[in-house]
Amino acid sequence: MPSINEQLGAYSDLFMLLAAFAYAVGFIAFAWDLAKSNSTIRELEAGLLEAEARQLAAVGGPAPVKNAGRTAASGGALVSESMDYVKDSGKRKAARVAVSVAWIGVGIHAVAVVSRALAAARVPWGNMYEFLTTGALIVALVFMAALLRKDLRFMGTFVMLLVTIMLCAATMGFPTPVAHLVPALQSPWLVIHVSIAVLASALFTITFAMGVLQLLQDGRQKRLAAGGQDRLAFMRLVPSAVALENAAYRVNTVAFVMWTFTVMAGAVWAEAAWGRYWGWDTKEVWSFVIWVVYAGYLHARATRGWTGARSAWLSIIGYLCIIFNFTVVNLYFNGLHSYAGV
């Protein structure tokens, strides 16, 4: 067994802290972008109206009517329903800063995780500290990769906050020096089972955020339609509830297939390690519960009266089960998986 490089491990710890710091800055910048969304949009609309007025005046048409419903529900020219980048979205300077900082964070974070893996000469997910730090990297990477193609910056605040919390929790709650794996974890299935589980969880994280935003947007749209006050003005930077629902569904289907694979791979591993593929160990129970809840979600999307807010709730509940499985079950329930805890 190659020996542990403790020096490199110490560097990894340091980089982990730096990454957390970068993410915290990214969080502030994203929040700033939302906070000043009102003035950004007003500025933009003023410019737009003016341009339109000039054009119409030249043609001699009627005075422009502001398309109040559309701009109020979703940020008008700032977001598109298909979550593509639109022309004027570059005017969100705070968001551009936030994305750059987030990329820096991901870079540092990746160095930290890779150096941890090199220090231990194995995959960097063998204990709670490593699950958290690697999991956070995957969440951040998935989000940043999605940002390359789609304008999901409205979720930046949430994602940056989450990964900051995960890194802080890992560093403060479960500091674990680099070490070899205990025999129970020495299996190729650790690589397969856990990596897919983490990836699926990262995708579920994204859809969780979309689900929450969908519910907020849904309520807001209803209130606006009823002539009410817009109390969540920053939601103008967020696509409509239907757009969120459809996007979340697509991501959820991918994540669900991955989770199905995770459970099956776990069963194969359990067979090799404990002699039975399924034994209702607490971790297995909760993985099953999560799977069934998301199966319910997929059914809900095909059931009349269950699309929209209700299916969003199922997606949210599914994610809460994932969090529960990762925190409470790992730490407080004793089962066969518990050595993986700390």
Partner: protein, 547 residues
């Protein structure tokens, strides 16, 4: 409105329904999507208590402990089968209903899809512009050298077929068209997925009926033969018969442990367990050398042997008051911590004139703590030591009641050695011997062996479960990611477009196309664009200057 009418109809026909009608009604309810959803969510909720309360199937000891600690509540929880959640009446009822609903759902869907597979793509809608994705491509008039409508349609049908569509060309009439549909596999994937779930459940049941499992501790040098009497504990499936035990054998030649000796923070953490074993598949068969490790069971036929635990077994000789050897051999030490401080119990029923008993600890690396109590500082056997208390009297074994071999009940015994007595406790270093007080005999610590805890399991449902699971995963992927869509392409006179009946007489024509997704299809827009490109490449339209 519709629902109200339906309700009224139901009201009217209730008397006529009769028991058969009621049954049919119940069946319709049970197999509805809404019920399936409800049962799924109920299943998720019902699975939760199994993680909150200890389960007999997982750890019966814990359940007994819980019942002892909570006598009142525990009894009630037990009455509602909360310690046997996954075999409880209510949990079983939910999943059985779910699976009945599933079967009731799958059969009509399979029938319907079989019919759809034999049905040609549907008729071409009058107005393709009403479809979610649609567009037009100009086509030169026939008198300008353009192809005939029928030819365009035939070629378009070919293009669509190449893209995986099933097509039907309708070249006749004033508006020749081709109708196409693809993604029939999506529904098949869905059916395969749901049917495979039934397969998984069935296979699990088969495993539960005909499988078996058991435990055995094996000290270095000992052999295990797969017969009922060789097991320390055994749990048969409901339809188990003794003939299904294949009498293979397995001998533990050597057991090696590697501890972490480099890391300051994880010093002494185990990093490898390897059991070298010799197996024979059947009596008299050729012996084979194998390595048994955690995560790497030894498989013999359909049975697998797992390494699930290990520990030290100090070899002890006990002589009785008459000076005869009353016991000799390795004694299992049950590890209590990471440094392998191991609980040892020795019962010597053959000792005369009094039976003897010993309780204490085996310490692989014995050091004396500040409080004067010895403890083990390391899991390796560098300073092995036995610390024992001794008893004499009646062990209570003769009554024939089953006893836990790892527990000594001192109630019928007299203490001979302990820290509380003048004689003190027994402290034995390797190779030393100790004479018991009052001439009751002696005990010596002769050597040290290791032992392994083995799980031996046979589950005939395992392979079918794996096969059905793989099928389910494949079906799931197909059903979620194969898009099902319809496409139509038609050639119309420019003036007759969009449902107009009159051609404008110029002979100018356009190719109209339209697409419709059946089910979730995020890539429909891309498909429309692709189709347009194909059409444009095939028939480069002449963009005319219009006045």
């Amino acid at each position: 409105m519709v629902e109200k009418n339906a309700a009224k109809n139901a009201d009217v026909s209730v008397p006529a329904l009769g028991p058969l009608g009621m049954l049919r009604w119940a069946w319709t309810q049970l197999t509805s999507m809404r019920t399936a959803l409800f049962l799924l969510l109920l299943l998720a909720v019902a699975a939760v208590p199994g993680s909150l309360f200890p389960q007999r199937s997982v750890n019966p000891e814990q359940v007994n402990q819980y019942l002892a600690n909570n006598p009142g509540a525990g009894e009630w929880l037990d009455r509602f089968q909360l310690f046997d959640v996954y075999s409880s009446v209510w949990f079983s009822a939910i999943y059985l209903l779910l699976f009945i609903s599933l079967i009731g759902c799958v059969i009509p869907r399979a029938r319907k899809h079989a019919k759809a597979l034999r049905t040609p793509p549907p008729r071409t809608p009058a107005r393709l512009s009403r479809l979610p994705e649609h567009g037009t491509v100009p086509l030169p008039a026939e008198h300008d050298g353009g192809p005939s409508g029928a030819a365009v349609v035939q070629r378009a049908a070919e293009l669509l077929r190449k893209r995986g569509y099933r097509v039907e060309a309708r070249p006749e009439g004033p508006a020749p068209s081709v109708a196409a549909e693809r993604g029939y596999l999506r529904e098949i994937g869905n059916l395969v997925f749901h049917v495979s779930l039934i397969g998984v459940l069935g296979s699990v049941a088969v495993g539960g009926m005909f499988g078996y499992g058991g435990q055995r501790l094996l000290v270095e040098g000992e052999s295990f033969v797969n017969t009922l009497v060789s097991y320390d504990s055994f749990s048969p499936g409901t339809n188990f018969s003794e003939e299904s035990l294949v009498p293979f054998s397995i001998r533990l030649d050597r057991f090696e442990v590697e501890f972490d000796r480099e890391s300051k923070t994880h010093f002494g953490q185990p990093i490898d367990f390897t059991a070298s074993v010799t197996t024979t598949d059947t009596p008299g068969a050729e012996a084979q050398q194998k390595q048994l490790k955690v995560n790497h069971p030894v498989r013999i036929g359909g049975t697998a042997v797992y390494l699930v635990g290990n520990g030290y077994a100090p070899v002890v000789t006990v002589r009785d008051g008459n000076g005869d050897i009353a016991f000799q051999g390795p004694v299992i030490g049950v590890p209590q911590d990471a440094a392998y401080t191991s609980l040892v119990v020795i019962k010597v029923p053959d000792a005369r004139p009094d039976q003897l008993g010993f309780v204490g600890f085996f310490l692989p690396t014995a050091v004396i703590g500040e409080d004067g109590v010895s403890f083990s500082a390391d899991p390796s056997a560098t300073i092995p030591q036995l610390n024992l208390n001794s008893y004499y009297g009646d062990l209570g074994l003769d009554a024939g009641d089953p006893q836990n071999v790892y527990v000594l009940d001192p109630s019928t015994l007299t203490e001979l050695n302990s820290r509380n007595l003048d004689a003190g406790g027994i402290v034995l270093d390797a190779g030393t011997s100790y004479d018991l007080p009052e001439g009751k005999g002696s005990v010596s610590f002769d050597g040290l062996k290791r032992y392994v805890a083995l799980d031996i399991r046979h589950d005939p449902g395992k392979v079918p479960v794996a096969v059905f699971s793989a099928l389910a995963l494949m079906g799931l992927g197909i059903s979620l990611f194969v898009p099902r869509r319809r496409a139509w392409i038609k050639v119309v006179e420019a003036g007759a477009r969009s449902g107009g009946t009159q051609s404008d007489g110029t002979g100018e024509r356009i190719i109209e196309y339209g697409l419709l997704a059946r089910g979730e299809d995020p890539r429909l827009v891309a498909e429309a664009a692709e189709l347009r490109t194909l059409l444009e490449r095939e028939w480069p339209g002449m963009v005319r200057e219009r006045v």
